[in-house]
Subunit: 198 residues, 2 copies
């Protein structure tokens, strides 16, 4: 049985970097944006359309509105997003059958919940100050811009996750292990997660 | 500098057992009910009075009511609880100065936040079904009784923690590491936490 570590993360918490280093350390395959490209190839959709939809749904408020009203009618955006989600789900399930992997985002924890795989679901968070600092350094933006990016991206992630799963994004019970990347640092976080899957 | 691991936990999650085994593994001192006895000895209060107050405040709703109204007047219960909290705080700070320790509950994460100590704050949770099962086995009660115990005890813990700290009980960002004891089992949880303090 293959092992898959899924990583949910607050924006700016370093979750993606932790995922990448973890995959290197364990010699697992790392999946992130690559997944979108795979989905495009498999489903015959254009890379551009998929890239635009991606985890950042074109209009995330539609999810919330639909969820609240129970409305199931669709428009072009929702249709594209649902097609993408369905394609990604199939690809994520195929990965889990065939290789040990680290998968960042994409509701992969939820998609794999009933599959034959040893699954470890991790969530990475950090205090807002630490995330702002990280984003300012990496993206060369102001403090105010970093704050805006955090708010916007975390809202989008929550929206996407809460719409496609029956769990709550960033709620500890949605994951097996939750850790503060600022308290431990990237390398130590990687060590702790590696110990958990060992 | 000494190392202290604090453990917050949902009722029935096995957090206390994890704390005890962790202390054994690391050769740290374990603190739990013993703390109350120490507090009693130090402060000259009767064991019985302290045992009754303990973490299970005599009337936890008083905390919530006081917190909401900003009321600062006291009655006998609040007075006893505040005296106990103050005594325990001093004892917990003394422990952190003098020995490596694992401390379960008592808002010890918050009490030690500004002390000279390497602090690791852990929260242990588990799905309700797993906790019910654990409580039924250990306490020889029915499923319904187990559910009642979970509700009552978790409410009391939340009430106590949220009153005495400026953090939220069981919210992941109140801790460095949060883990699901049912997913990992007691021994594996101990290993993961030991890795985190290593």
């Amino acid at each position: 049985m293959k092992k898959v570590i899924t990583i949910g993360r607050q924006f700016g918490s370093g979750g993606r970097e932790i995922g990448e280093k973890l995959a290197q350390k364990l010699n697992y395959t790392f999946y992130d944006k690559n997944l979108i490209i795979l989905a495009a190839e498999k489903g015959g959709m254009s890379h551009e359309a998929l890239g635009a939809a991606d985890e950042k749904a074109a209009n995330p408020w539609l999810y919330a509105a639909m969820a609240q009203t129970g409305q199931t009618s669709i428009n072009a955006n929702i249709s594209t997003n649902d097609t993408l989600f369905s394609l990604q789900s199939q690809i994520i399930k195929d990965i889990a059958k065939n290789e040990n992997a680290v998968i960042v985002g994409r509701c992969s924890d939820y998609i794999l919940r009933n599959e034959e795989v040893e699954l470890l679901n991790v969530f990475i968070y950090a205090p807002t100050e630490a995330r702002v600092k990280r984003i300012m350094e990496r993206m060369k933006v102001t403090e105010q811009q970093a704050m805006q990016l955090i708010k916007k991206n975390d809202k989008q992630r929550k929206c996407y996750y809460d719409f496609y799963t029956d769990k709550k994004w960033a709620s500890h019970s949605s994951y097996d292990l939750n850790l503060d990347s600022d308290r431990f640092g990237i390398d130590k976080a990687v060590e702790i997660i590696a110990k958990a899957i060992e």
